[in-house]
């Protein structure tokens, strides 16, 4: 068969090819502008790398005196305890918010109100929330637990509400048809459909809360973060690296527990 003279070019997602190339050139120029305005330069970067290598050198081998080690274990325990308390408290508060933020279960105004509350919880970073709670409740674990609980609401309620919106209406309808009330329908027709997801979300949030609990101590909200900040401030780099390793270990264990549990229930 004779070769065909026709050619074909993949259609572009842009308005046309000129626009496409202008966009690419514009992007490169924009990143260049950002680099020059923020003072990020190869020289500055290289300087940082050298400091970094020096720092890592001072961090190995990780060591800690017995007092330091005991203090670290105590505060790690505090972090894990905070994460558990906050998960329980946060999920308990999240359950009603979740139901009230499911578009298919509540009237529109209720839905919008609860979505807004959830959005506030999601938009603030946990460090900012922690600063506020430390100002209100003073330094320590209480502020930490409240911070993580507050952050749990935004995460858990939102995802739970989305699961509620995906349920099979037929199962609800059947309960309604037997003469069940609104609450009967929720208890009998809705809850069984979302229980496994609720458990999965809780365990996953606990896993996130462990990680978060290691950092909010930096602003005084309890846990291991307080200790790690002190170690860096006092140039105890070898102690700091010990703490980092311990955090990694704890987070890994938490993640493993959460992964296994979720696989079993979902």
């Amino acid at each position: 068969m004779a070769a065909d003279q026709q050619t074909w070019r993949r259609p572009t997602a842009f308005y046309n090819r000129t626009v496409k190339w202008l966009f690419y050139i514009g992007s490169v120029l924009f990143v260049g502008l950002l680099l020059s305005r923020t003072g990020v330069s190869p020289g500055r970067f290289w300087q940082g790398i050298l400091f970094g290598i020096d720092l890592v050198g001072q961090m190995v081998p990780p060591t800690a005196t017995e007092t330091q080690f005991n203090r670290m274990m105590e505060m790690l325990g505090e972090s894990v305890a905070m994460s558990m308390l906050a998960t329980v408290l946060g999920v308990l508060i999240s359950i009603p918010f979740g139901f009230l933020a499911a578009e298919n279960l509540v009237p529109k105004p209720v839905y919008y109100l609860n979505r807004s509350i959830i959005m506030v919880s999601r938009s603030l970073h946990s460090l900012i929330v922690a600063i506020i709670f430390v100002k209100a409740f003073g330094l320590g674990v209480v502020a930490g637990v409240l911070t993580l609980s507050f952050k749990t609401i935004g995460y858990w309620s939102k995802l739970f509400a989305e699961d509620l919106e995906d349920i099979d209406r037929g199962q609800m309808e059947a309960i309604e048809a037997t003469g069940g009330s609104r609450l009967h329908t929720i208890v009998y027709g809705v809850v069984p459909q979302v229980i496994p997801r609720a458990i999965g979300l809780t365990v996953y949030r606990w896993d996130i809360n462990i990680r978060q609990s290691t950092i909010i101590g930096i602003v005084g909200a309890g846990g291991i973060g307080t200790v790690i900040l002190a170690a860096f401030d006092k140039y105890q780099y070898q102690y700091a690296s010990t703490i980092l390793l311990a955090i990694v270990a704890v987070v890994m264990v938490g993640e493993a527990i959460s992964a296994i549990t979720r696989r079993r229930v979902e």
């Binding site: 099979d168 037929g170 199962q171 309808e173 059947a174 309960i175 309604e176 048809a177 037997t178 003469g179 069940g180 009330s181 609450l183 009967h184 208890v187 009998y188 027709g189 069984p192 459909q193 229980i195 496994p196």
Partner: protein
């Protein structure tokens, strides 16, 4: 006794699904409602227990007019109306026993329902009904472990345990194979006769309707166009119900039914709460 008087439903889209349907069902008769897809059969059944809110006319269950009832009274009235669904609508993650007992939810408090604390006479009755529908020793199976035929048996048990004054049955066999369809309809009609419950059954397979009904009504384009005994449903009657009075020209009925099933799925997607 169930009686509808000029029952109408116009959806918000302006779609007139029911244009004034008057029908009454008495004693323990089994009435099959047949008609082409989109005729309004599903809407009609759902307007009776107000899963779909009618926009005109009246529905009487014995002496009670259901459209006039407030929420609380409607729930009480629904306890007397059993419903069986096309897609079974069992709570999939609950056990067979819990699904059957859900037919008694109208009589227990939310707290008791939450703890699955049903009166012992309900539990007793649930065991008896499970035996009647051929699911003895299955009470602890989860609904999602069952086959289609078994699920619909649970659906029947859930409706019958309500001790209803009428059974509304919406396309009970559409999700089942032909042989299972016969078994399920056999069971359904036997149980209904034994318990003296009248049945209104939507069905698009005419042959099945003929096998099990005492009386046939034909719905076409939201209007009741034909009514009679099973032996009266001749070719002319079918023309009235399915082709607006025009005679058909030698198409195979099996093919038509298949097309009708496809059309129906289409309608289900368009009509809110259809199915």
């Amino acid at each position: 006794m169930l009686r509808t008087d000029n029952l109408q439903k116009t959806y918000e889209s302006g779609d007139e699904a029911l244009k004034g349907v008057s029908l009454s069902i008495e004693g323990s008769e089994i009435v099959s409602m047949i008609g082409p897809s989109g005729a309004g059969k599903s809407t009609f059944i759902r307007c009776i227990n107000r899963l779909v809110e009618p926009t005109g006319g009246e529905v009487y269950l014995d002496e009670t007019e259901l459209r006039a009832l407030g929420k609380r009274d409607l729930r009480k009235a629904r306890r007397d109306i059993g419903m069986i669904f096309q897609e079974f609508n069992l709570v999939e993650r609950l056990t067979v026993m819990e699904n059957v007992l859900s037919g008694r939810l109208g009589y227990v408090s939310t707290w008791r329902a939450f703890r699955r604390n049903f009166p012992s006479e309900d539990i007793q009755r649930a065991y008896e009904i499970l035996e009647r529908v051929g699911l003895e020793d299955m009470e602890n199976k989860r609904a999602d472990e069952l086959s289609g035929g078994q699920r619909q048996r649970v659906g029947i048990a859930r409706a019958v345990i309500q001790q209803p004054k009428i059974l509304l049955v919406d396309e009970p066999t559409s999700s089942l194979d032909p042989e299972t369809s016969h078994k399920v309809l056999d069971l359904l009609t036997t149980v209904a006769k034994e318990d003296d419950i009248p049945v209104l059954i939507n069905i698009h397979e005419v042959e099945l309707a003929l096998d099990y009904a005492d009386r046939i009504v034909g719905l076409s384009d939201g209007e009741l166009v034909w009514e009679g005994g099973t032996d009266e449903l001749d070719e002319h009657a079918r023309d009235i119900i399915y082709r607006g009075g025009e005679s058909r020209e030698g198409t195979g009925s099996a093919i038509e039914e298949e097309e009708a099933a496809e059309d129906r799925q289409e309608i289900d997607r368009q009509v809110p709460g259809g199915g």
